[in-house]
């Protein structure tokens, strides 16, 4: 039990920033550049951690709570979700609701920290972030409902259990394909990637997530970046398990399959960021409503 917990956390903490490196590298290769080294996110985090805190006099404790919660929440959420075929360290009936709302909690604190600075610019970003995430949340819940219906369980461990492989080959395969696509879009929204948000832009009109963290610096910014990397890996774990439901039986090969799946996911995100333009802001809610409808449709297909 303790060993499993350590393995889970070690995989998460060590591997998460590498995904960002893989994405950046893929984009660089597509643009014909050499690109930053794969380990650059680790160097960035180490650099940020060596700096000192700088706080504006107008901010309160809420300003620091944002990054802290943003770092702790993905850690907690990772304990609920199986990494590939490695079972989750903590599992109970109904933990899927906790999983979804843990992310809502971290978003609440990020938004509160952004509002705490009193800058209208950050308020704008907070409003956009909340709008888009409240449209993405139903998609995630409906997708989990489809899995719950297929597995007759209510814990993430059962949802992503060994029944997935036969389910892909049965009539429910179509529904699984639909929710795989909608979950991928949710992953892109939640982690503020292109086509919904551009993590590199610093333009007032287009920023969503970046704008909320403009006033954070040093270790606080490091915590936010590390938390974002962890969040991406945790949400990616859901997708990878859904797409690669194989079970080898030996923990090392299971872990390797999982990590290979995550790397493939990162490459896919990099390819999408290279070949797609950012959506216009009014188009984003339309696409999100579309994915929500897709997941509802998937649910109807398995319910009939």
């Amino acid at each position: 039990m303790i060993i499993r917990l350590f393995l889970h956390l070690a995989l998460l903490l060590l591997f998460a920033p590498l995904l960002q490196g893989v994405i950046t590298r893929t984009k660089a290769l597509f643009a014909g550049r050499v690109g930053a080294p794969l380990l650059q996110p680790y160097y960035d985090l180490a650099r940020l951690w060596r700096k000192g805190f700088v706080f504006s006099r107008t901010t309160t404790w809420v300003f620091l709570a944002g990054p802290l919660v943003g770092l702790v929440v993905p850690l907690l959420a990772s304990l609920l979700i199986p990494f590939g075929a490695l079972p989750a360290p903590i599992s109970f009936e109904g933990d899927l609701v906790l999983f979804v709302y843990l992310f809502a909690l971290s978003r609440f604190f990020t938004v509160a920290a952004a509002l705490d600075t009193g800058s209208s610019f950050e308020g704008m970003g907070a409003a956009r972030e909340v709008t888009f995430s409240c449209l993405a949340e139903p998609t995630l819940l409906f997708a989990l409902l489809v899995l719950a219906r297929l597995s007759d369980g209510l814990s993430l461990g059962t949802l992503l259990g060994s029944h997935l492989l036969p389910a892909w080959h049965s009539d429910a395969g179509a529904s699984l394909g639909l929710i795989l696509v909608s979950l991928f879009l949710v992953l892109l929204v939640e982690n503020s990637r292109i086509p919904f948000d551009d993590p590199n832009t610093h333009l007032e009109l287009t920023m969503i997530h970046e704008v909320m963290i403009l006033d954070h610096s040093g270790p606080a910014l490091g915590m936010i970046l590390y938390g974002a990397a962890l969040k991406m890996m945790v949400m990616g774990a859901l997708l990878v398990r859904l797409a690669l439901p194989w079970q080898t039986g030996w923990w090392l090969s299971d872990a390797l399959l999982f990590l290979a799946g995550l790397t493939g996911l990162a490459v896919l995100i990099g390819v999408i960021e290279s070949i797609m333009a950012r959506l216009r802001l009014p188009r984003v809610p339309q696409v999100l409503v579309g994915t929500m409808l897709l997941s509802i449709f998937a649910l109807v297909l398995v319910l009939r």
């Binding site: 009539d171 809610p285 409503v289 449709f297 109807v300 297909l301 009939r304």
Partner: protein, 212 residues
């Protein structure tokens, strides 16, 4: 063969959603052409490679997948419009309506007194859903070309029904329907040209205003 028809019908439904939610006319015509081409595979998949099924597939592919979309693309090129502006009902509401009617079609199909071998399949609900989507497209859009697309989609829905019955349905009936459709598209193409020449726009609501 039957396990291939379900993904095919699912793709048909997804194309319905895309057409309801998209504003780009050329892309809409292309996906509806793709829908027609996919449907052309349907008789082969469900009835095997018999003569009747092959003729049905060939004519569906030629008309729905090639000829009619080509006519529409040419009309778009000639009147130089790219997007559907200001639909009567917005894109997101139409998409929601489309999904609701599709869900309704799935629920309704279970209640129908069908032959037992058709009861669990996706044929009947997909046919109903495609017809509803075509209706929605006809009702909610202003541009004549999108309305023709709705008409085409309606016919695609009827075609799915026809595949179910194709053993019983005489070949001439299907040929007659397709001929009707082709004539309809021709007439509408002429109307489209006429509207754009008279009013320099393609909005059909101008036609309802009387003029001395």
């Amino acid at each position: 063969m039957l396990e291939l028809t379900n993904p095919l019908l699912l793709a048909v439904i997804l194309i319905n959603f895309y057409t309801l939610g998209s504003a780009r006319l050329v892309a809409c015509v292309r996906v509806v052409a793709l829908q027609g081409a996919l449907l052309a595979l349907l008789p082969l998949l469900s009835h095997g490679f018999t003569f009747h099924a092959m003729v049905l597939a060939a004519e569906a592919f030629c008309f729905k997948g090639v000829v009619i979309p080509w006519l529409l693309l040419r009309a778009i090129h000639r009147v130089r419009i790219r997007r559907e502006m200001e639909p009567i009902v917005g894109f997101v509401p139409t998409l929601i309506l489309g999904v609701l009617t599709t869900v309704g079609a799935f629920l309704f199909a279970d209640l129908l007194p069908l032959a037992p071998e058709h009861h669990d399949g996706m044929f009947v609900p997909t046919a109903l859903a495609t017809m509803f989507s075509g209706f929605l497209l006809l009702i909610t859009r202003r541009k004549a070309i999108t309305q023709i697309l709705g008409y085409l989609m309606l016919e695609n829905g009827i075609f799915i029904f026809a595949v179910l019955l194709s053993a019983a349905m005489p070949f001439m009936v299907e040929a007659g329907i397709l001929l009707d459709l082709l004539v309809g598209v021709f007439v509408m193409g002429i109307v489209v040209n006429q509207i754009s020449r008279e009013f320099s726009t393609l909005n059909t609501e101008r036609l309802t205003a009387l003029k001395e």
